[in-house]
Subunit: 418 residues, 2 copies
């Protein structure tokens, strides 16, 4: 398939963009190439799509269920009892809802950590975006669960990838407080043997750090490092409470950080040290939404603004967390973290992009596109989303969205009756 986008704004100038197969083939004014599909880009800008580096996608089905409660009461009373009863089919329905809201808000990739990962892959394959999907390793230090998790992971990794062109299978360890040494070691060895991406929650709360130091005498980062879990294919989610030594370890290993600004504020986890961490490793800072249960949406275009605002507060400076920095984190850095040659509108790069309605008042007068995207825009400004050279949203509409929403409503009724 080829797509020709005519008269679209790119770096402030009107140009044409030719997509061939899944890459940007040519970016130049007045292209006269034949194409299977022509998109009129008049009044629109072409910009990178977003790459969401930490998500529990299927939790969108629990959006707004038991909000404004203390974290553990909410997990114990509301979330865990429901999660325990969700079926594989439910996770498929819920993942479709999540992918739909991601597309609507400009996201073409997410790194996921949840149960029934094969169902999330099915949703991603059908809906045309990208994902790094993993089963979540979590045994609560129970040897029976360790054995079960290892067996499940072997099955997961052995099964055929339903969509290798857009989905990568990896591993995730939930955290140092939920995963035994045996399972951490298995995960580390398996990742190394198979060259897998790894996702881990780290230092999300001060309590996590305190418990880890008490139990093991080291910080969560140091503990993970002692198992060889910090590599340049590791994505550390949250990382709110890092010591200077932790930061140096992470930098030395070339690991990535997924900053989840909305979740950290909503759950009162603390403030990510964006300015210092970005200064230390500008290529390694990425942005995620976390699950909808602790956000309560999967909008990266909202999260970039919150990341910037939180960075200014954390650093005590209105010039911290600059628009261009959080934007880079949410686009090219997030893509690079999972090995994608994407996140930029550039000849040869993977053809992922958004078209932005420059006539939306949030985008007017348009002195500075990146500033407007970060500080002024919301998802209403996004009209089209292209992923891997194929349109997944056109003029605000996603194929099949009515059915996805209807199915999600039906599942919610079941959840309410559980």
């Amino acid at each position: 398939m080829s797509i020709l986008i005519k008269n679209v704004l790119h770096h402030g100038k009107k140009t044409d963009v030719l997509i061939e197969k899944n890459r940007f083939a040519k970016i130049s004014p007045r292209l006269e190439a034949p194409a299977d599909k022509v998109i009129n880009g008049e009044g629109k800008a072409i910009v990178p799509a977003f790459y969401n580096t930490h998500c529990h996608a299927a939790m969108s089905i629990l959006r707004g269920y038991g909000d404004d409660k203390p974290l553990f009461a909410w997990l114990r009373e509301d979330i865990w009892p429901i999660e325990a009863r969700l079926t594989a089919a439910d996770i498929y329905t819920a993942s479709r809802l999540a992918v739909l809201e991601m597309i609507k808000s400009g996201t073409v990739f997410f790194a996921d950590m949840y149960f029934f990962a094969e169902e999330t892959m099915r949703a991603v394959k059908e809906m045309g975006i990208r994902a790094a999907v993993s089963l979540v390793e979590m045994d609560m230090f129970d040897p029976a669960q360790t054995t079960a998790k290892i067996a499940a992971t072997k099955d997961f990794l052995a099964a055929e990838n339903p969509c290798p062109e857009r989905i990568v299978k990896g591993l995730s360890c939930h955290s140092v407080y939920t995963v035994s040494a045996e399972l951490l070691e298995y995960a580390s060895r398996t990742a190394a043997d198979n060259n897998l991406f790894m996702q881990i929650h780290v230092s999300e709360t001060a309590a996590e750090n305190a418990e880890c130091v008490e139990k093991y005498g080291v910080t969560p980062t140091a503990r993970l490092d002692s198992f060889g879990l910090l590599t340049n294919k590791t994505m550390l989610a949250h990382a709110v409470h890092l010591s200077a030594a932790d930061t140096e370890t992470i930098r030395a290993r070339g690991s990535f950080l997924s900053h989840n600004p909305v979740s950290n504020l909503k759950l009162n986890s603390g403030l990510f040290a964006f300015a210092d961490l970005y200064a230390a490793m500008p290529d390694k800072i990425t942005i995620g939404t976390d699950g909808a249960s602790s956000n309560n949406n999967l909008s990266m275009i909202e999260s970039v603004k919150t990341a910037s605002l939180a960075a200014k507060l954390q650093a005590g400076s209105a010039v911290a967390g600059k628009a261009a920095e959080v934007y880079r984190a949410a686009t090219v850095n997030g893509a690079a973290a999972f090995g994608l040659d994407a996140g930029e509108i550039r000849e040869g790069a993977l053809a992922d992009c958004l078209l932005i309605n420059m006539n939306h008042p949030f985008m007017v007068p348009a002195y500075n596109l990146v500033s407007d995207l970060v500080y002024a825009a919301d998802s209403a400004c996004i009209t089209d989303v292209i992923c891997d050279g194929r349109p997944v949203m056109e003029n605000g509409h996603v194929d099949g969205e009515e059915e996805i929403v209807a199915d999600a409503r039906q599942l919610a009724e079941k959840i309410l009756s559980l």
Copy 2:
């Protein structure tokens, strides 16, 4: 004019809503009243519109101009030189852009503080929303300016209100650090004599407090109170750095607070003590966007979420700044502050409302409407806006929006050439 909205969700149940003239006349299932206009509410919810209690609307034309710079460098190098050269016609063009973005994001009222207020009134009248408009009193302690401001204010107040049904004229004092005792006294006396609403920036930054204490020996709140400027018609904007005594004074006087969460974070002003202040005076806490230059949009649906997130951080508790609290602040409290019997969908109340697309994935599965509006929705979920019994946005479209955007672009070109 009468409007009948059929089959719309209200408090979770499908109902019909009849608007006669500018009020909700009847809310009941299966209404068979004749109406000039029938709106199909299928798949939508009817909810209150937003009331923005602190704005400098025309600054939308400076959106994104010189971002990510320190506050005073930005004001001195970027903003003030341009503001000094804006004409009355420019303020009209800029105000229309601001009103357009407010309508698109669900706002039907704003309290404004800027120059050429008569031009802002013209835009508001034409576009069908509400405003409390004031000339900004600011003399920089220069007696010549004091005299000029008093003369200008007399003219402003003497001139006919072009739209008394939707616009109220009031006064504003910029702040204790920009307004002389003479002008504060004039403003206080004039407000009292004419029963006017008053808007004042107070304790926005720690520096403002320190300077005020050094110069006058009292806090900004105490200084304003000594001039009789704190009444139950006073809106105090920002109020980030209040002492316990300040809070008690404000509570005793019945004044209102306008919390501007995005601006406070973007300019690194500090954190508003939402939880404590809401507990002390739940009817008096309202929400504003500030001008687009320090935000950079006028989206109240974004500001309510930021208000909640900032409240949790400030209080150190995930249950602070509950969805229902920030939502009340942004709707019924904001309306009441300016004497409007509005901000609720209730028979007899002024007919201001939004229709929300309940099929947008952010609004699914819909366990809790207020939680979803605050934590999940953005402006893309709003399809229709009604103000004072008349539609100002229908299915996402505002009459004349193309011309407003074109005019704003032309003005921006002039600004860039200044």
